[in-house]
């Protein structure tokens, strides 16, 4: 089956800055795909190349088998993009904005019932006559989502749709993208919230400094990184022995967090070692790695 999105050797240079250094991967139809990475990794650049907003310096991108440059009409017809920035045309009401956007894609009155449905689903019906200028940030974000869907694209990309959005709206948006996915749309989500990707995405790509660092099923990701965390509350006068000290990844007064590799470091050894060094362990807590931990490991740094 044709891939929903195919990225082949895509490069982008902004002057001296090498924003994308030859990225290749494919997203299958019907997938819920996560594109993760720290700020400046090149996620938006890749999305904008896919949408036709930015020209690649090398390589190719296709949407549903249509090259985004050579066959821009079917490629764009197949794609809906929710941009990262909140942008809008201040001259028009919400409903007019959606009708105009549908018109750009060649949809006329026959699309109006669908637009009303989108307004309803995104809880914008009350505001549909209002000028978009008067809407709150969260509502403007929902208008952006509706705008991306007016032409019923099979592939939908959301570029950090939940950045700066309150918890309740985040939840609503998750639910909405899940429904789109259930209805057969391919969804690509970029986000900073790893728990979001963990909860929603079937596969995840991690980018950093313009390169693809990892691409796996979300579950495999978590399984393939064979470490877990041990959090201990200790008291006592001793010094932590070097063999244990090297496992410590965070420390806060009497609390230690250790990163244990499965089959190599055992909880029992750690507890014995600490007791021998004169500590009393007052509390023990273990935690499986989250995407965030893997992310930090892969990109070598936390997201600033």
């Amino acid at each position: 089956m044709t891939q929903a999105i195919r990225v082949e050797g895509v490069e982008k240079r902004y002057g001296a800055l090498h924003a994308l250094k030859g990225v290749s991967f494919g997203i299958e139809q019907g997938e819920y795909f996560g594109l993760l990475g720290p700020n400046g990794a090149g996620k938006s650049t890749l999305i904008n190349i896919t949408a036709g907003l930015v020209r690649a310096s090398g390589g190719h991108v296709s949407v549903m088998g249509h090259d985004v440059v050579g066959a821009f009409r079917p490629a764009r017809q197949s794609l809906g993009v929710v941009p990262q920035e909140i942008v809008y045309d201040p001259f028009f009401s919400v409903r007019d904005i959606l009708r105009i956007q549908a018109g750009y894609f060649g949809c006329g009155r026959e699309a109006w019932p669908w637009i009303e449905e989108l307004l309803e689903r995104l809880d914008l019906t009350d505001k549909c006559e209002a000028s978009i200028r008067q809407l709150s940030g969260g509502m403007k974000r929902r208008v952006l989502i509706a705008q991306a869907l007016v032409h019923r694209p099979p592939v939908v990309i959301l570029d950090e749709p939940t950045a700066g959005v309150d918890v309740e709206l985040r939840r609503t948006l998750w639910e909405f993208t899940r429904e789109l996915h259930a209805a057969g749309h391919t969804i690509v989500l970029t986000t900073h919230y790893l728990e979001e990707a963990e909860a929603l995405c079937e596969r995840i790509a991690i980018m950093d400094h313009g390169e693809l660092k990892a691409l796996e099923k979300t579950g495999d990701f978590l399984a393939r990184h064979p470490f877990r965390f041990l959090r201990l509350s200790i008291d006592g006068p001793g010094t932590v022995p070097p063999a244990i000290e090297r496992l410590v990844c965070a420390r806060d007064n009497d609390e230690l967090e250790l990163r244990l590799t499965r089959g190599q470091d055992s909880v029992a050894d750690v507890l014995d070692g600490l007791r021998d060094a004169g500590f009393r362990v007052t509390d023990v807590h273990t935690r499986e790695p989250s995407l965030e931990d893997i992310f930090v490991e892969l990109t070598g740094d936390s997201d600033e």
């Binding site: 045309d89 060649g106 006329g108």
Partner: protein, 266 residues
């Protein structure tokens, strides 16, 4: 909420409805601020008319049988056409670039030529609204029946199209409104003022009369004036030819910019 992919839409080679939508949107944009986009230019032109008619009516007689006020009206109408056609495309494009909402147009399956046609056509509509309103107001000063209406209409459309395209180019190049204002103040204004709005170039010193013949705006005003009086400084065929040539050259530049995404698709 999904639906089968619209195969007809995927196979489409043109997007007439998208083009029409963009055209309509551009027209609605200027109509929604009609006070600034139509009324204000008419008032400005009427002020010029009042002042110059008062000062100069008795002193200048440009063509036999044509008083100065009559002479002035077509020039002022064309100057308004020039300025408003330019303003419509350039301000719309620059504003949507600055506001960021240009992306919604760039996401759409519209070709460079389709975007071009929609923007230019909307600017011609605005220029026509201003011209018609000004012509009607001018009628209160002096009734001016058109001696060669086809020439007048052709010059209106061609000149508005030229300036609309120039506005597209300026809108693509401008990074902020200051740049547009500079383009307007240092290029559009002087060239339209120096093109014979207020005088016949025959009344100029020889050097300036020759220099004027290299100013495309001169032909717009002169050809338009021919439509009113059936006489002008240059033959009407020259005026039409020069303006068409100017349009073709500018369109080539603008289309190339849109096609390559110059300063728009980074």
């Amino acid at each position: 909420m999904n639906s089968p992919v619209d195969q007809a839409a995927l196979a489409r080679r043109f997007n007439p409805r998208g083009t029409w939508t963009l055209f309509q949107k551009e027209v609605r944009r200027f109509l929604s601020v009609i006070g600034q986009t139509v009324l204000a230019p008419v008032i400005t032109a009427v002020l010029y008319l009042l002042v110059f008619q008062h000062v100069l009516e008795d002193r200048v007689n440009v063509y036999p049988g044509v008083g100065y006020t009559a002479f002035l009206i077509p020039g002022l109408v064309m100057m308004s056409i020039i300025q408003n056609a330019f303003a419509n495309t350039s301000s719309s494009l620059t504003q949507s670039k600055i506001m960021g909402n240009l992306v919604f147009l760039l996401f759409a399956p519209l070709s460079a030529a389709e975007i071009f046609v929609a923007f230019v056509a909307a600017a011609i509509v605005r220029a026509t609204c201003v011209a018609a309103a000004l012509y009607a107001v001018g009628w209160l000063f002096i009734p001016l029946p058109l001696q060669a209406p086809l020439a007048a209409i052709a010059m209106l459309i061609l000149s508005a199209a030229c300036l609309a395209v120039l506005g597209l180019i300026a809108g693509i190049l401008a990074q902020k409104f200051d740049h547009l204002a500079a383009f307007q103040n240092f290029f559009i204004m002087p060239f339209s003022f120096l093109s014979g709005v207020f005088y016949s170039i025959h009344s100029l010193p020889e050097f300036w009369e020759h220099a004027s013949r290299f100013n495309p705006f001169f032909y717009m005003i002169d050809g338009f004036r021919y439509g009113f009086f059936g006489v002008a400084d240059a033959p009407i065929s020259h005026s039409v030819g020069v303006v068409i040539l100017f349009f073709v050259l500018l369109s080539g530049v603008a289309l190339q910019m849109l096609r390559t995404g110059y300063k728009i698709r980074s």
